[in-house]
């Protein structure tokens, strides 16, 4: 009999699946999950429904460019704007797949438009999140995906 997955296991599954099938990037759990990421891109996707929060994706521009190329970006050498677009889409896919996995397909969530930005500097405190997965791609690009619930109470995943 299958055991129900924990939220962290679901997050790991969804991110791995979306990277592989949605972005054609193979990735494994980061052997150094606490390793500091160099300054990179951050995409935030907010969600609102039975729970309210945000999914944050931190990744180097090179991972975004790799995904953009895999998705058929026109340019032979995609620029950072293509990398940002690719990571925005990855954020959209991860968030869209994760929430029904955690709360069921009958629940209704409204997703925000993925918002791009830069990761915080090393001297700033990282965002406090309840769930996190750290992966490293075959090309050696580290990525972190975090889920933060902003409401104090609500349906448990």
């Amino acid at each position: 009999m299958l055991q129900p997955q924990s939220p962290d296991e679901s997050l790991t599954d969804v991110v791995g699946h979306m990277l592989a099938d949605g972005a054609f990037v193979m990735a494994d759990p980061d052997p150094e999950p606490g390793a500091e990421l160099p300054d990179g891109l951050r995409v935030e996707v907010s969600f609102d429904g039975p729970r309210r929060g945000v999914v944050l994706i931190d990744a180097p521009p090179d991972l975004g460019m790799e995904i953009a190329l895999n998705l058929g970006a026109d340019e032979e050498a995609p620029d950072e704007s293509s990398a940002v677009e690719a990571l925005r889409e990855l954020g959209n896919m991860i968030t869209g797949a994760l929430l029904p996995r955690l709360f069921g397909t009958e629940t209704v969530f409204h997703l925000g438009i993925p918002t791009p930005g830069r990761m915080v500097g090393a001297d700033e405190a990282p965002p406090v999140c309840q769930h996190e997965v750290a992966l490293v791609s075959d090309e050696g690009h580290r990525t972190r995906v975090r889920v933060r619930f902003d409401d104090l109470s609500g349906v448990s995943p």
């Binding site: 979306m18 099938d21 949605g22 972005a23 953009a68 998705l71 058929g72 970006a73 026109d74 293509s82 677009e85 690719a86 925005r88 889409e89 959209n92 896919m93 968030t95 869209g96 797949a97 929430l99 029904p100 397909t105 009958e106 629940t107 209704v108 969530f109 997703l111 438009i113």
Partner: protein, 131 residues
């Protein structure tokens, strides 16, 4: 025959992916229009003859839900075959959109094969009129 297609997504990367997937699936429309939100998509439908709409839901300015709400009352626009290509998994929300037999849902990530199947189901595979 599918002559004109409207591809609607706020991401240019995904619009390119959809166009490329159409080609890989064997479709060779005469013209592919692009729109980055529902508002722009409505503008295309008002001025052009479109045989198929391939659209995302989560877009700025006018979402796919709002776009469908705007075209639904129109016999001409509401009847245009439409494939929703989205990360949306909520059955309740999808059922609001898929109220006509001329509409299909294709979850992201998708493949050229799954896109071909969705379009074929809309236009009738047996009719041989899809490509």
């Amino acid at each position: 025959m599918i002559h004109n297609v409207l591809v609607m997504d706020d991401s240019p990367v995904i619009r390119n992916l959809v166009k490329r997937s159409l080609k890989m699936a064997g479709f060779t429309p005469t013209k592919i229009f692009e729109a980055s939100n529902g508002h722009e998509g409505l503008g295309v439908l008002m001025t052009e003859s479109v045989d198929l709409v391939l659209m995302d839901l989560n877009m700025p300015e006018m979402t796919g839900y709002e776009f469908v709400a705007r075209i639904d009352p129109s016999p001409r626009l509401g009847g245009i075959p439409l494939v929703v290509i989205s990360t949306e998994r909520s059955e309740a929300r999808l059922s609001e959109l898929l109220t006509r037999p001329t509409r299909k849902y294709l979850p992201k990530p998708f493949t050229p094969e799954s896109l071909k199947r969705a379009i074929a189901e809309l236009f009738g595979e047996a009719s041989g009129k899809v490509a």
